[in-house]
Structure formats: structure tokens, C-alpha cells
Amino acid sequence: MSRKVSITLQNNDDARPIIEAIEKDNPDSTVNIYPAMVKIDCEGRLIVKQETVEALLGREWDVQELHLSIVSMAGNVDEEDEYFELSWNL
């Protein structure tokens, strides 16, 4: 059975660098575009790295800012200063 984790973000300017960072850091992920939102699926594990988002944004980015753009998710959450990770126990 598929063990996909997923994160859904609003399709807006705030979320775009986050989406881009996710694609960069999770090469196996699949991006699905729906009206007004973007759902990204990845087998087993998906990470949002502060460093990557900051590089794309050109400013400091608090991982908790993710809460402004997130629509939904599936997976166990691990939130740290430097990253936000979703995973299933494989």
C-alpha cells in the first residue's frame, strides 16, 4: 500500500517559495495543482527546510510561518527550528 505523506498549501505569493523549496529538497515529490491550492505528495517522508526557504526568500524565515499558508497535511509532524518534517513510520 502507498504510504504517501502530503502537505497542501495555498497557491499564493507567500506559499510559492515554500512550494519551490519543497520541490528542491524532495526530488521524488509530486505536485498537484487545484483551484487556489497546491497539494504535494511524497512517499514516506517530506521535509521543509528553513535554509532553503530563506535562500529563496532572501530573508529570515521562521518555520512557524508555515502556519500562515498551510491548508492540510497527512503524516506525523516533527517541527524544529530548522525544519518541518512529515513522515510515516516505515
Partner: protein, 505 residues
């Protein structure tokens, strides 16, 4: 101060110091008196400190992020009203989804707020208590932002004027009301299993995500904005749902069968509640994003499948009757719409027979069932209506004792036979719509016999009078405006006038 200043604490450590350290073991009063409700359900907790905080928002960050969200949201609501945003939607039929939402879901958000306030006081562990309190205030936010977003629609369309009043009285609104009443009258751990886990984690995506995407597709920017703004809190809420389940399962193996039973119960109760949403998605959105069936596949079969696989190691299996629910995804939106088509003279929103392209869309999305069972019926109803014989059902339906939906759903392997179960309790017979609802009744009959069943209440004379019209007045309906078919409604008339003016201009 010779030692080097530590510049910054890690998020986990900081949260723990600012939150977890606050509580203490009371000694002047017995802890069991201070927290009287968190043991009777039979959930054994040995170490509240083992609670894993699902997210780590301190109040400073909470106010910062939430006020930012609120600023954005109210800017959109203001601009929607100033620019007469209701004129930009695809079709006035769409507003009927909003009516169902405001009368059915928004009052439930307030119920959730009160439920989380209760458990936010009652758990003796500080971690879950703070998480619940934050969710309580978030749920108040959702109730209020929904009312504020839809306030503009109320100024122009019927059926939105008396949400909370109707929620306490109207027959189909007793479906969501009894769901939340059921959760709130349960113990604190069951409450969290019902709302945080079953509803928020397993099922809420089915309510919000496709529906909000649908709103966007139909030009309803106010709803999209409150929907997404609310969903951004939902990520926290979902995490709380999973955290509490794992916490119970890890604390004591005696908790496992209790948690499993709650999951079975609340999964079933949740899917029943969501048939209202299924109907909204398949029938009430003029422009459709995805079918209920597709949403079910993505958000239950796929996401739920991965989740329950993850919980397997605790000895948890997928909810009982999940297989039936998956079969039902082929049928229920059609059956629910048919029920409301029958009784729309007693509902505060309009129904209609979908137009030809819409029927074609349904045929395409439901190749196994729609043409075989449902399309011919809708085409027949359409013919009858065009011949001046719009069908309204004048007898009141029997309601399921548990989910309170009219007993019109069928056996899934035989969609021409009504599913019908019954149980005896203290010499009386009680009817349920499915094995799922019957199990729930049989486990706690003393609870479900209390149900305020709208049809029973009407027959007992508690709802304004003996005639349908008396009852509808008691519901505070504006007769001839709030109810009946969309065709010929004041909503339709006004919408057509607006469109005509637009063309002229």
C-alpha cells in the same frame, strides 16, 4: 554574570519551559477533585509528562500569526462586500451550499469551541490542556469568521437569516447538532477522539479542502478566504488529533480496545454527517472541482490508509465498516440529494434537477452507479416538473435513531432496497439506518434513546402545530422564499434580474 549568555533556546526547550513547567501537583485539594472527569472513561494514563506537544506555539507567536491571518481575512471580507462580490459567483444555485454551511456547520464550530474549552480545563496534563485551549479559541474564530463572511450573502439571499435558531430546531440540522452534542456529552478522551481525531484528522479534509477549492472555482472569494484561513489552524488541530491517539495507545494497552471502539463509532458517525457535504460537492456547486467519490479516494482511501497503516503497530485496525463507507461513496451523494429533493419544501435551501451537462458530469464521475440507478430517476423528476407536477413528499420520514438522517439510504449491494436495522431497549423498538449506527446504539442505548428526533417531536406536537406549515413557521422559515425548488424562487428571480442588468450594461 560570568558565564556566556546563551543566545537562543531551541523551540522545544523554550516551549517546554514556558508551558510545561507551569502546572503543579495540588496538595491542598485532591487532584482527583480538581480534575474529576479524566479517569472515568477507563483510559489509563501513567505519565502525563510523556505527552508529545503536537505543535509549540507560545501565546506571543499565537497572537502574532493569528492576527496576521485575521488582518488578511477581514480585508478580503470588506472588499467582497464593498464590491458586491455576490454578483461574481457562477450561479445563484451555488449560494445554497453556503446556506447549508452557515446553518449546519458554523453552529457546530461554536460547539467545538465549547467542547475544547471544557477539556482544556479538565485534563490534568498541562500539554494537552494548552493545546485544547488554543483549539477552543481557534474554533470560536471559525464560527465568527464564517458568520462574518456569510453576513454579506444574508443581505441578498434567502435562507441564511436564522442560523443558530434553525440549528436548534430544523429536522436535517439535527444531524450535525446531534453529532456535536454526542461528542460534547462524552468524556474528555472520547471527545478528543471524536473531534480531534475522527473529525479533524480523518475527515475534515473531505469537508474543507474540496469544498473550498470548489468555492474558488465558483467565484466565491469570501468563502475561499475564510475556508483557507480556518484550514491553516486545522493543521495544528489535526496534529493534536494524532498526538492524543498515540498518547492513549502508548500509555497503557488496556486503552487500545477503548480507542478502537471510539474510532469505529466516530468514523461512522462522521461519514454519515459528511453525506451532507457529499451532496454539496456533487450537486450544489455549479462548477465542480472533483466528485465526492474522488475526494473520498484521495482523502480517505489514500491518506487514511497510510494513517491506519501507521497505527497498526499499536494494534489498531482501520475503522469497522470502512469498506461499506467506501462502497457508499458511489451512492450517498445521489441518495441524499434525492431525500432533500423530496423534502425541499421543508428545508431552508433550494434543490433542483441538475442540468444536462451536470448530469453528464455525474455520469462520467460515477460510471458504475449513476446511469444505472440515479440518472433515470432525476430525468423522470425533471419531466414531472416540466409538466407542472414538481414532486414534494408530504409524509414525514422515519429518522435513524443515531445519525438522524431520514431512513432513505439503501443496502450498498442492492441499491433498490432500503437499509433498515432495529434494536430493542426496555421494551421499545428503535430504528437505525445501517449496521454502523446500530452498533453505536447497541453499545450505549441509554444515551441514544434520549435523542431529540425532529419527526417524533413534530408528531408529539412540540414543534409549533400539526400542519407542516405550522412547523415551518416554528422553524422561522419565510415560506415561499427560503424553501421549495430553486426554479421560481425569489433568489432565482433576483439573480436573473442582476444578470439582465449586467447584459444591458
Amino acid at each position: 554574570m560570568a558565564e556566556k549568555r546563551k543566545k537562543k533556546l531551541g523551540i522545544k526547550q523554550r516551549y517546554s519551559m514556558l508551558t510545561r513547567g507551569l502546572s503543579w501537583e495540588t496538595t491542598y485539594q485532591d487532584m482527583d477533585k480538581v480534575f474529576p472527569y479524566d479517569k472515568f472513561e477507563g483510559i489509563h494514563i501513567h505519565d502525563w509528562e510523556a505527552w508529545e506537544d503536537p505543535f509549540r506555539l507560545t501565546m506571543d507567536a499565537y497572537w502574532k500569526f493569528q492576527s496576521e491571518k485575521e488582518k488578511k481575512l477581514y480585508a478580503v471580507i470588506d472588499s467582497f462586500a464593498q464590491n458586491n462580490g455576490h454578483l461574481g459567483i457562477t450561479d445563484a444555485r451555488y449560494v445554497n451550499a453556503i446556506k447549508l454551511f452557515l446553518t449546519g456547520i458554523s453552529p457546530a464550530e461554536y460547539q467545538a469551541a465549547r467542547g475544547f474549552t471544557h477539556v482544556g480545563r479538565q485534563f490534568r496534563g498541562v500539554g494537552p490542556r494548552v493545546a485544547c485551549q488554543m483549539q477552543a479559541i481557534d474554533e470560536l474564530r471559525h464560527a465568527q469568521t464564517q458568520i462574518h463572511s456569510m453576513s454579506h450573502y444574508n443581505k441578498y439571499f434567502d435562507g441564511l437569516h436564522s442560523g443558530p435558531y434553525m440549528h436548534d430546531r430544523v429536522w436535517y440540522l439535527s444531524v450535525p447538532k446531534s453529532f456535536f452534542d454526542d461528542a460534547r456529552t462524552a468524556g474528555p478522551f472520547e471527545f478528543l477522539t471524536s473531534i480531534s481525531f475522527a473529525f479533524e484528522y480523518v475527515l475534515t479534509n473531505l469537508l474543507f479542502v474540496p469544498f473550498m477549492s470548489g468555492a474558488a472555482f465558483n467565484g466565491d472569494m469570501a468563502t475561499v478566504t475564510f475556508g483557507f484561513s480556518a484550514q491553516s489552524d486545522e493543521a495544528r488541530h489535526m496534529t493534536l488529533g494524532l498526538a492524543v491517539i498515540k498518547f492513549m495507545l502508548e500509555q497503557d494497552e488496556r486503552n487500545i480496545p477503548i480507542v478502537q471502539r471510539w474510532m469505529d463509532k466516530w468514523f461512522w458517525r462522521g461519514t454519515r454527517l459528511l453525506t451532507l457535504v457529499a451532496m454539496m460537492m456533487d450537486y450544489m456547486l455549479p462548477k465542480r472541482v472533483m466528485s465526492w467519490r474522488e475526494a473520498w479516494d484521495i482523502y480517505f482511501t489514500e491518506a487514511g490508509g497510510a494513517l491506519f497503516k501507521d497505527l497498526e503497530r499499536y494494534g489498531i485496525r482501520p475503522p469497522k465498516y470502512a469498506d461499506i463507507a467506501t462502497k457508499e461513496a458511489e451512492h450517498l451523494s445521489h441518495q441524499a440529494w434525492h431525500i432533500f429533493y423530496n423534502y425541499t419544501h421543508a428545508a431552508a435551501f433550494h434543490t433542483w434537477v441538475p442540468e444536462k451537462e451536470e448530469l453528464d458530469w455525474l455520469s462520467e464521475k460515477y460510471p458504475n452507479t449513476f446511469d444505472k440507478y440515479y440518472r433515470p430517476r432525476l430525468e423522470y423528476l425533471d419531466k414531472e416538473e416540466k409538466a407542472g407536477r414538481r414532486f414534494y413528499n408530504d409524509t414525514l420520514p422515519m429518522l435513524c435513531q443515531v445519525c438522524q438522517i431520514p431512513m432513505g439510504y439503501t443496502e450498498m449491494d442492492d441499491p433498490t432496497t432500503i437499509s433498515f436495522q432495529s434494536s430493542e431497549y426496555k421494551g421499545d423498538k428503535y430504528h437505525t439506518c445501517s449496521l454502523g449506527c446500530k452498533d453505536i446504539f447497541d453499545y450505549e442505548p441509554e444515551k441514544y434513546v434520549q435523542a431529540w428526533l425532529p419527526v417524533h417531536q413534530i408528531y408529539q406536537g412540540n414543534c409549533g402545530g400539526p400542519e407542516i406549515e405550522d412547523v415551518l413557521k416554528w422553524y422561522n422559515f419565510n415560506l415561499g422564499a427560503d424553501n421549495l425548488d430553486y426554479s421560481g424562487s425569489p433568489d432565482q428571480k433576483l439573480w436573473n434580474e442582476w444578470q439582465a442588468h449586467r447584459k444591458k450594461a
